[in-house]
Structure formats: C-alpha cells, structure tokens
C-alpha cells in the first residue's frame, strides 16, 4: 500500500509539474490582480505581409504607439508572402495563436468574413473612439451591413511597362488594349526577354476578366462568355510565345521577373513601387490603367485592419488599428505607394506618387474581386486548370478550363 501511494504521489507530482509548465503566466496575473491590469499595457499583436519598407514603418509604429496609447504594447509578426499568410492563418486561429489584429486585402477576406472569423467592428467603434467618417473605402469592407475592417488604402490594379526597354524597341505610344499589348509583346520578345509576364494567379487573371466586361459573380458567372474571351486572350499570348509565367523561368512572382528585366510588361499594383525600390532602383517604369479588352475595368484593391473574433483585447486592437491609420503612419505608407484611406491625405497621394498619375481614372471604375465564398478553393482550382494547360500542355480551351472550374461552384 505504501509503495502504491508513493508511486501515485510521484505520478501526480510529475503531471502537475508538466501542466504548470504549460500554463499561461500572463493570463493568471492580469485576471487576478486588477491593479496589475490597470498599469500593465495590454499587448496587441499585428500580423501582416509586405515589403521591407512596410516592415520599417511598422517597426517605427511599435516605438511610437505608447506615446498615443500608453495602455497598448504593439507586437508585429510578418508573414513571408500573402500565400503563406492565407495558408498559416486558419491553423493559427484554430490553435488560438493568431494575431489579434491582421492587415489583409479585400482579395481574400470575403471567405473569412463569411465564415465568421472576423469580429464585426460596429460594437467596438464607440468604445475605441474611432470615427469612420474620416475614411474612404469604408463600404468595401461592409458585408451584410456590418463593418469588418478599418480601411488602410484603396488602389486599382495597374499595368506596368519597363520604360527603358519599351523606348529602346521604338514602339511609340503605350498600349491601351490587350490586342495592342499582344502585338507589342511579340515585337519585344527576344531569346532572353519576354514581352509580357502573366502570373498564373487569380489577381492577374481577374484583371483580364474584368477588362473584358466579366467577373466571377461570387461563383455564379465563372464560365461566362466575357470570362472565356479574357482567358482565351491569355492563352493566345502564351501560345505565340510572347508571354511567360514567372515559374517557368524560375522566378516566384511577376515582380521578380519584371525587376530582373526578363519581361517588359506585367499587370500589378502599387506594391511594385516599394518592391522595385529595393529590387532594382535603376529600373524606369510607367504605371498605366489595366488595358481594355472590351471595357474599362480592373480590380480595386483595399487593405484593411481586421480584428479576429477569438482575439483578446478587441477594443485595444481597434485602437491600434486607428493609430496605424493615423495621419503620421499613413503618410509613411503614402511614400511607398499606398493610396491612403484617410480623406485628409487623399490629395497628397498623387503629389507624392506622380508615377501613378495615369492610373487616377481607374479609381472611378475599378471594382471588387467577387470571388466565390470558397475563395481559396476557387483560386486553387483556377490556377490548377490554367497551369495544366499552360505548363502541362493539356491543350484545353478557355471554355473547357472555366467550365471545369464552374463545375465545382454550382
């Protein structure tokens, strides 16, 4: 009996020690001692992906936030890429280790909003002291009448041309339609350089689709005649050898191909400014609206800060978002090419970024992505079908590709 008792006690002691080691010290302290809670700043974690310049701005914000919100300590977590961000986030949410506040784009947010992972901000706005009337692009983040993000920026997609290479080829005026782009791309293509890089990625494909008057209709119009025309144009440019995918020449994304002078034209966005400043500061480029297929249309990108539903300290998280969208912080983002959401800074954007001046008209007509609710599944299927044809030589037509994707989203 004595032996049994001693073994039992040792076992219990071991379990208790291990479990105590796994416990959350911080939680215990603040929950039991109100005095500690009132004086200790609350930690708000922010997750984002972006360029080295974005990181620099956030690192400065970490230092500055205590002057405005002494109750908040900001921690930042940078994800290596948007793909890794979207792949990692669900697991982090399930494990309860996701950041409290996330910077993301409207491109992939709809699925998360629909699945209830983000906190509607309506109840938090008043206690956090946020004034939505100061911002542009508020409606982009409204779903079923509820506000899901504090907007950071709104900016349409662009079409970028390596100006030095274009001028060297003596091609004259910049192209306004995809037919003109294709003709120019053929002339610009040499042994080492391709006329255009088309990344097999939903963002880029969507811009072609929109320029032909199509859209995904949240999954209802994937194989519409307009979308088929747009995808056919992409396939045609691959077929005649004037277009290349980043992957097939060993690069990760279109920006890398463009920065390395391996392609003269590409679809892209404001993030090119920050990226090219680091990757190839000598590259001279022009930014134009996305060329016309049959209509003027392109995607409208908006970054925003969302608060996770299961996050801690939601009010403080929104206060942090408010700080990060203050004039001081957003002025820094303007310098790296973001069109700020703050109305007071709107006029400054094109002054600071004259290279984006030609894109101004696209702000009026560009629209949201309209991906299906199962966004990631849709993106994966679309990429898979296109890669099968472009990289795998399956010889499917645009109609067959989109019919196949549509099958999954009836």
């Amino acid at each position: 009996m004595k032996k049994k008792m001693s073994v039992l006690l040792i076992t219990m002691l071991t379990i208790t020690t291990i479990l105590a080691g796994c416990g959350n010290k911080e939680k215990t302290t603040s929950a039991t001692d109100p005095a500690v809670k009132s004086t200790t700043p609350v930690t708000v974690s922010l997750g984002f992906w972006g360029t080295a310049q974005d990181l620099g701005i956030y690192q400065q914000a970490v230092k500055d936030i205590s002057a405005v919100h002494p109750n908040i300590k900001l921690e930042i977590k940078q994800y290596p890429s948007s793909e890794q961000f979207w792949n990692t986030l669900p697991g982090e949410i399930a494990a309860g280790v996701a950041p409290d506040l996330i910077k993301l784009t409207n491109e992939g947010a709809f699925e998360y909003i629909h699945k209830g992972l983000f906190e509607p901000l309506d109840e938090l706005i008043k206690p956090a002291g946020v004034d939505l009337s100061l911002y542009n692009g508020v409606d982009i983040w409204k779903v079923d009448g509820k506000q899901y993000a504090l907007p950071i920026s709104t900016m349409p997609a662009m079409f970028l041309i390596n100006d030095d290479m274009w001028k060297k080829a003596g091609l004259g005026a910049y192209p306004k339609t995809w037919d003109e782009v294709q003709a120019a791309a053929k002339k610009l293509t040499t042994k080492d350089v391709h006329g255009i890089v088309i990344n097999i990625d939903a963002f880029h494909i969507t811009n072609y689709v929109k320029s032909y008057g199509g859209d995904w209709g949240y999954g209802k119009t994937i194989n519409s005649p307009e979308n088929v025309k747009a995808v056919q144009k992409i396939l045609d440019m691959y077929k005649d050898g004037s277009a290349v995918t980043p992957k097939s020449i060993g690069y990760g994304w279109d920006g890398e191909v463009f920065a390395n002078n391996k392609a003269v034209m590409t679809t892209g966005g404001y993030w090119y400014k920050g990226y090219l400043k680091e990757a190839n500061p000598d590259l001279h480029y022009v930014a134009l609206p996305v060329p016309e297929g049959t209509v003027h249309n392109s995607t409208m990108h908006s970054d925003g800060y969302v608060v996770l539903k299961d996050g801690k300290n939601k009010v403080e998280a929104l206060q942090t978002a408010s700080f990060l969208t203050s004039e001081k912080v957003l002025t820094e983002f303007v310098k790296v090419g973001n069109n700020p959401s703050l109305k007071s800074l709107s006029s400054k954007f094109f002054e600071v970024n004259p290279e984006f001046d030609a894109v101004k008209p696209a702000i009026e007509y560009s629209t949201d992505f309209q991906y299906p609710i199962e966004t990631k599944k849709f993106i994966d299927e679309l990429i898979k079908q296109l890669e099968g044809t472009i990289l795998g030589g399956s010889n499917k037509t645009a109609q067959e590709i989109l019919d196949k994707v549509q099958e999954q989203f009836k």
Binding site: I18, Q84, P90, A94, K115, T245, S248, K384, G392
Partner: protein
C-alpha cells in the same frame, strides 16, 4: 521451463506470477524504469495520442475551423467523399511514386556512401561531413538551391538534356516536377542512411572478413555473404523510416508551390499530405482533412507491416 548450466547445479525458474498493470508498475524492479519513461509517456500522450484520438473523432464529423462548436456527426460521409475524389487517388499515386523512386535509391546510395567512408581512405572525415550536411540542412534552403540549379538553361538542365530530358524548369513542368521532388528527397535522406549504415558496418566483426579472405572470398563475396546479412536489420529500419518520411514529404512541395496552389504545377506534386493540408487547413474543413489523415495513417501502417513481413520472411 528450466535451464541447466551443468550437471551438478541447475537453475530454478523464476517463480512467474501474473501481475496487474499497477502492481507491475509498483514493483520495485520496474518502478525506476517506469519513472524514467513517465515524462516521455505523458508528453507522448499529450502531443500524439490525444491529437490522434481527436483526429479520429473529427473524421466522423462535419467540422469547420470557423465554427468548431457546430460540429455535426456525419458517420462515414467524409471517408466516402474522399474515396470518390479522383484528386485523392492522384495524391496517393504521387506519394507512392516518390516512395518507390526515392526509398530504394537513397537506401542503396546510403549504403554505398557508408561503404566508401568506412574504408581506410584519406579525408574520410571530410567525406562523412559532406555526405551528411544535406540531411541537417533546412529543407527549404536545399529546395531553394535546387530550384536555382534546375532552372531552364542552367548547366544541370542542359546536362540532363543529353539523356533526353527537356531543357525546361523542372519544378514548373508537370512531367518533371515529381522527379524533382524525389531527387530532393534522395539528396537529403541519403546522408541519414549513410550514418545509420556506417554505424552498422562498424559493428561487423573484422575477423569474419579476414577468415573469408583466407578462404579465398572475393570482395563481392564478402559484401554479399557478410556485409549484407549483418546490415539487414538496419536496412529494415532505414527503409521503414525513409518510407514514412517519403509519404510525409511536404516542405519541399510547399517551397515549390510558393506563390501558387499547393501541389503546383497543376497538381503534379500533390501528395497525401498536401491533400490533407489543403482540405483540412487551407479550406478549413478539419473533419474532411482528419478523415484523409486517418486513411493516410492506415496506408503507412499497412505498408510498414508488409515491409516487416517481407524482410522477416526472408530472414
């Protein structure tokens, strides 16, 4: 049963008494042993057994990350759906292809490298280090370097062109991407096999080789009749571990699929693990993903069992 050592004295059998689990645990002879393994057992139960049970339960549920409280029991529906999905069978086929190409190759390569560095040659320490470095290097780093080496127009793609391979970026071509993954696995895993085989080779008694030499055995005979039987149990270990790791290959594929859909290009590198990850984590359908994992678990279990049976029978 009794054991007699000589005629004058016989050893009496230990009086066997059936013990309960707890009394066995409390027995002073076993207690120290149990206490030594107790921390491991607790952590194993915490990190492996509990998640396994959770995964088993989830596999019969319709459950989403976003609404874990609303999980519904749906019986075998997840399994039925998986078994009706051609993409699952494509993923299983790719996993099998990787294992069938990579495991025998890296096992033989590991043994050959071990034989080489077990010789009395100059600088064998350097060779051992060089062969082992890929195993301890980050998989992502190795993959990134290989991605640069296997780009269209590089020395390697031109070299393989001599053997009829196209001058294309291997990881971006649906015909070569899976071979590229297998090459990566072989490159990294062969160092591990080498170390294990090296340890086994050093245990082979030298006098056996000397005696065989006196009897006129050739180098091949010595290898065939002394080395191979001695390293056979180790071969089972190497093959089993490599098979399991081959089925679990993920990092390399994730690196290749960077900026694109997992299993890129066009699903050519999708495996059972990427299938699970895509459905369970990326699409947040954890019930479906758990069912895929459970099927995957049984596939590995059956294959390992067959491997053991095959090698035991030959023994």
């Amino acid at each position: 049963m009794s054991v007699s050592r000589n005629n004058s004295k016989s050893i009496q059998p230990y009086p066997y008494k059936k013990q309960s689990w707890f009394s066995s645990f409390a027995d002073s002879d076993n207690k120290v042993g149990w206490l030594f393994i107790l921390p491991f057992l607790i952590l194993w139960a915490w990190w492996f057994f509990y998640p396994f049970v959770q995964s088993f339960i989830r596999s019969f549920q319709d459950m989403n990350f976003a609404a874990m409280d609303e999980a519904k029991f749906i019986g075998l529906n997840n399994f039925i759906q998986i078994l009706q999905d051609p993409e699952f069978f494509q993923a299983v086929l790719h996993s099998l292809q990787i294992v069938l190409i990579a495991v025998p190759t890296q096992t033989i390569l590991g043994l050959l490298m071990a034989l080489l560095v077990n010789q009395k040659i100059k600088g064998k320490g350097i060779f051992r280090t060089i062969f082992f470095i890929p195993y301890i290097t980050s998989q992502i780093a190795v993959t990134t370097v290989f991605m640069m080496l296997f780009k269209q127009g590089t020395f390697l793609t031109n070299f393989f062109g001599i053997f009829g391979f196209g001058d294309v970026t291997w990881f971006a071509d649906t015909s070569y991407a899976l071979i590229f993954v297998a090459i990566l696995f072989i490159f990294q895993q062969a160092g591990f096999s080498m170390i294990v085989y090296l340890a086994a080779l050093q245990e082979v008694p030298k006098d056996l080789y000397e005696a065989a030499g006196i009897d006129g055995a050739s180098k091949w005979d010595k290898f065939r009749y002394i080395t191979v039987p001695f390293v056979k149990p180790i071969s089972f270990f190497v093959i089993s571990v490599s098979t399991i790791l081959g089925f679990q290959i993920y990092d390399q594929i994730a690196a290749i699929s960077r900026y694109g859909a997992l299993g890129s290009p066009a699903g050519a590198t999708s495996t059972v693990v990427t299938y699970f990850y895509q459905h369970g984590i990326r699409y947040m359908n954890i019930g479906y993903g758990s069912a895929a994992v459970l099927l995957f678990f049984f596939i590995i279990l059956i294959i390992t069992f067959l491997q053991k049976k095959l090698l035991d029978d030959k023994e």
